[in-house]
């Protein structure tokens, strides 16, 4: 499931709220300008700037104000980037390959909290839901559930044989096995591709809460201690 980064928008909203507290005319004008830029409303922006510059005393002090605002946005963006890289970020889930855990109805997108602390040690357990970049296209990110960890034996319904997950790799599958592109098609994936672990659903509000670890899905992974059966 591809996902989009939502932090930038959050930062902008937070900053706008902060700006509105000390609402003066100019601040408000600039916030409005930036909103228009964000919404890609170029024509509206042109009209707006024309109006602004037709007012007499506005040109004075514009530059320093612009500089201030740029600096503030830069700082907020920097902090947001660091937090989303190192600690946690919020991403939206697209597609139905993880339903019913995410997107039980196909017309809405869920937003989930992804924590990055697990990337220090790369320690995961069965049933964790992780975000990882696709092994065939590094620009795509997928969200799936870990079924097998290094050393486990995995048997798949459509293949009759059993294979061992190699060292430093993991085996993922979507909850909705009918419409999911996962390890059954591209095999075990290096752990280094993991970008974070999904812990909570944050939106929509009625389904807010922890993401459960489901481990009972594949009893075969318990065979890891006695591979001599195969």
């Amino acid at each position: 499931m591809p996902y989009v980064n939502f932090n930038f928008l959050l930062g902008v909203i937070a900053f706008t709220i902060e700006e509105c507290q000390c609402i003066s005319d100019r601040h408000f004008l600039f916030v409005w300008c930036l909103l228009l830029i964000i919404l890609h409303d170029i024509d509206g922006l042109k009209e707006f700037m024309k109006f602004v510059y037709s007012q007499q005393d506005f040109a004075m002090g514009t530059r320093s104000l612009l500089w201030d605002i740029t600096k503030k946005y830069f700082t907020v963006g920097l902090i947001g980037l660091t937090v989303s890289d190192r600690y946690a970020s919020i991403v939206s889930v697209r597609g139905s390959s993880m339903s019913p855990a995410f997107n039980p109805r196909s017309d809405t997108n869920d937003y989930v909290l992804v924590e990055k602390f697990c990337l220090d040690k790369y320690r995961f357990s069965h049933g964790d839901v992780v975000v990882f970049s696709s092994p065939s296209n590094h620009k795509e990110k997928h969200i799936k559930r870990i079924i097998g960890l290094p050393g486990d034996w995995i048997g798949t319904p459509n293949m009759d044989d059993v294979l061992k997950v190699p060292e430093g790799h993991f085996w993922v599958e979507g909850d909705n096995s009918v419409s999911s592109l996962d390890s059954r098609s591209f095999g075990p994936i290096p752990l280094g591709l993991i970008r974070g672990r999904v812990t909570h659903v944050v939106w929509p509000p009625q389904r807010m809460g922890r993401v459960e670890r489901e481990t009972n899905q594949r009893p075969l992974s318990s065979l890891q201690d006695r591979p001599e059966f195969y």
Partner: protein, 172 residues
Amino acid sequence: MVVGSLKLWTNLVVEGFQKSLSIAKFLCLLHATNAYICTPITPYGPSMLPTLNLTGDLVLVERVSTWLGKVDRGDMVLLRSTEDPRKVVIKRIMAMEGDTVTYLVDPKNSDASKTCVVPRGNIWIQGDNIYNSRDSRTFGAVPYGLVEGKLFWRIWPLKSFGSLHGEAKEDS
């Protein structure tokens, strides 16, 4: 009296908050530069031997070409190891997706060679020291998503200070 000390404390708290905020800002800037622009590393190990020394080198790794997708054959890259994700290794890219590679399976003992095609979204990496390197010859092609940066400048030792691009080897 009480009001006065309260004011003092408030001032102290405000000042402390501002100080820590500026430190946090600095750390954020540091993180952003390290993660998205470039970072120094000290490589260690025998696998890149004629190019990089066993130990004691200091090289710069740039991240820009990784996320622009500008990494190409012959570049030395920093990538997360497939065998142990806690480690990063330095190898040279020998082939990109769709290329055909021919490699010696066991260069120490035999001339046997193998040919294979690199799958979509993957790269073929090898160490310069083919006699002592664990690379794609043992574990196959690796996903591009593991690449974390490209080596581009050597700082230490000073006598070989300079760009690392000219040393690209002809690939097999």
